[in-house]
Amino acid sequence: MCSDVRSTKQLSDNTTDAYALEAQGLTKRYGDLVAVDDLTLQIKKGEIFGFLGPNGAGKTTSINMMVGLLSPTGGTVLINGQDRARVPKRSIGICPQELVLWEELTCVENLVVMGDMYDLPRAVTNERVGSLLASLALSDKAKTRVSQLSGGMKRRLNVALAVIHNPDIVVLDEPSAGLDPQSRLLLWDFVRSLKNKERKTIILTTHAMEEADALSDRIAIIDHGKLLQLDTPGNLKKTIGSGDIIEMQLADREKNEVVMADLKAVNGILEIQEINDASGTITIRALNAVSLLPEIIERVDATRTRVSDISIRENTLEDVFIYLTGRGLRE
């Protein structure tokens, strides 16, 4: 009890107006399983903060504790410098990973119910409903029952419900999961407009690296409930150095080690690593990678195997994740 009070006070003293949300030593245990392990981070006001990690990394559990849906086993959460329990509920809007909608109600009815739950005057609700449906390309479905909407439309409505009450902090948990490319781009535009036009603080959890990369100002990489790295997407990519990435699979995976040992001698290859998964992909980070391809293929052939698949791309956040954990994001 005393230590809790002390830690909260200590955190408050260090708090500046710049932070929308601060988590200090946030922990969640289910028996022996530690879902979130001593998570400490600060989210700045007006930024898009990405939580990047594979499924089961502890992203949703962390978010649920931050917004009050889940009681933490340990640690504290401050919102706008205040204890979370004292902050008005309307300060936060959450879009859960699952579609949380009343299927028998229309789009408008869903939004109006939530507006009522946040005590919005009906005129304000009506105005917000119109504007949100327009922004998320749902105006022509305003009076359609949710059960008759497509998956993409439902997901967009799911986001609209999270912001009907105009919250300061918006939590989007895997908002684009299962969306077609067109809907995803529409959603990304909407998220950017929340930040740029409405000055919202956005917490985005995703296991889609391109989404985190495209939207986030800063990214926290989390795995097994632990914070591994926290920085801007650019800085994170820099942590693993410059150069492009060659991904290569051999016809005979048994030869991976021999080939990797041989390729280390190639001038221009900065780093070589085997992804610890079923694919057995070898990733090679190299400067001027295109020019190195003929030599790489020649050396592979010399080890009496052949390249079954090879590609070249720029450094991504997934490479950062692989660098930090030794495994891919989609495992």
Binding site: E109, Y118, P121
Partner: protein
């Protein structure tokens, strides 16, 4: 700004109305039952004439009589004797008693008759013993004088033996009333047996009187037969039940059955809310537990009102003997609301512990249907008396609020009773519902409305 509980109530009402499966269970299902029961039990039937004991009550008003024999006087109460006979008599060649006598007051007996806890009520009049004495005397006189003609023919000097005095002639007559619902098959069977037993009793009285005379006069039993008009029996239909059928009993029960179906629907509705995550969304908002619970209550009360009115309309259309006017409908709706709240409370309790919608629906039906039988919604139940309070006899089933509601609905809808007549039922229904409501609300709030 819209009041939150009202917004939630409207939301839930829209969801229910738009959900065909839910509407089927709440409205169509009980209506189908109503139609089936109306066809099956809408007319008096001859069923129920087996050898099971009939539940009856005897109201013995007999004041007794004084009998003088051989210079001795004796006080008798034939009403008690007749009651004992009813209690002890068994079906021929079996040990099964014809009747189970319920020791209740006249008012209690009438209430039990109305709720079909009793098949018949026998009222023995004040002058029953006097009528019995009249019958015995008449029989004795007839037997004493039966040989006079023969004695004259044989040249006897005296018409009657010395010291022979004829019993006093009195013409007291008494009528035993057998009261019951003439539309009930069970009453028909019980009444036939009671008449038969009364006839046997009169036969015994006559036989005893004749035996005593013959012993005194040392003569053989004659073929004389005194008039048996001293004691008669009459059927008195239960007030307002002259044309009642089993369906009339069942129709209010089917309304209670419909209200009990709410258990499943409420549990399903609330479990869906937590299962789909919408409850979590609501918990993140400014919604208070009160808003959700009161909103839920409001929605289902409105549905209960719709159920009561719709089912009553269907029942009347199918021949239900509805007594009472608009007032009885108003009172029935208020009573039904209590039953509805009891169902909502049980639904809350289930929703606290069921993990998914399907489980809630199945468990709800699994509870609602047997409880419907236990409340006597479909058929009268055997008496399992717990005790008596406030002038009313309480059965084990009365611990269920829906039993009280069903009994009160029958009183109001079949007999046109007012608030005063159903006050005890309603009072107990409110108390039992309040207990269930508190348990339901606490369980649901603790399990579902707190952060995980």
């Amino acid at each position: 700004m819209t009041v939150k509980f009202l917004s939630l109530a409207i939301k839930a009402l829209k969801q229910t109305i738009r959900d065909r499966r839910s509407l089927f269970f709440l409205l169509l299902f009980p209506i189908v039952f109503m139609i089936i029961f109306a066809f099956a039990f809408g007319s008096p039937s001859s069923l129920g004439t087996g050898t099971a004991p009939h539940e009856i009550a005897v109201i013995n008003l007999d004041q007794g009589a004084t009998v003088s024999t051989n210079n001795t006087t004796e006080r008798i109460n034939s009403g008690v004797n007749f009651t004992q006979l009813l209690e002890n008599i068994t079906y021929a060649q079996t040990d099964t008693h014809m009747f189970t006598l319920n020791n209740v007051s006249a008012d209690q007996a009438l209430a039990m008759l109305k709720s079909r806890s009793l098949d018949a009520v026998i009222t023995i009049p004040e002058n029953f013993s006097q009528a019995v004495v009249s019958l015995a005397n008449a029989s004795a006189r007839a037997e004493t004088t039966s040989d006079i003609g023969l004695r004259v023919i044989n040249g006897s000097t005296a018409q009657l033996p010395v010291n022979t005095t004829l019993p006093k002639q009195s013409n007291v007559t008494a009528q035993v009333i057998v009261e019951g619902d003439t539309g009930s098959a069970a009453f028909g069977a019980a009444q036939g047996l009671i008449f038969n037993v009364l006839q046997q009793y009169q036969g015994q009285i006559q036989a005893t009187a004749i035996r005593q005379v013959d012993a005194t006069l040392a003569q053989n039993q004659s073929q004389s037969n005194a008039s048996i008009g001293y004691i008669s029996a009459a059927v008195q239909p239960l007030t307002g039940t002259r044309s009642l059928t089993l369906f009339d009993y069942q129709a209010p029960g089917l309304i209670v059955f419909a209200l009990l179906m709410q258990v499943s629907s409420v549990a399903q509705d609330l479990t869906r809310e937590s299962d789909r995550g919408t409850l979590g969304r609501l918990k993140l908002s400014n919604m208070r537990s009160f808003d959700l619970l009161f909103g839920t209550l409001l929605t289902w009360i409105l549905i209960a009102i719709a159920q009561i009115l719709l089912l009553l309309g269907v029942a009347v259309a199918l021949g239900f003997s509805w007594a009472g006017g608009a007032n009885s409908i108003g009172l029935a709706v208020l009573i039904g609301i209590i039953g509805g709240i009891a169902s909502i409370s049980l639904g809350l309790l289930l929703a606290a512990f069921t993990t998914n919608e399907r489980q809630a629906a199945q468990l709800g039906v699994l509870i609602a249907v047997p409880v419907s039988f236990l409340t006597g919604a479909f058929f009268p139940l055997p008496n399992e008396i717990l005790g008596t309070a406030f002038g009313t006899t309480f059965q084990v089933y009365d611990l269920l609020p829906w039993t009280q509601v069903a009994d009160a609905l029958r009183q109001v809808l079949i007999f046109g009773s007012g608030v005063g007549a159903v006050a005890v039922y309603v009072g107990f229904a409110i108390v039992l519902t309040a207990i269930l409501f508190v348990v339901g609300v606490i369980s649901y709030s603790r399990v579902r409305l707190r952060p995980e």
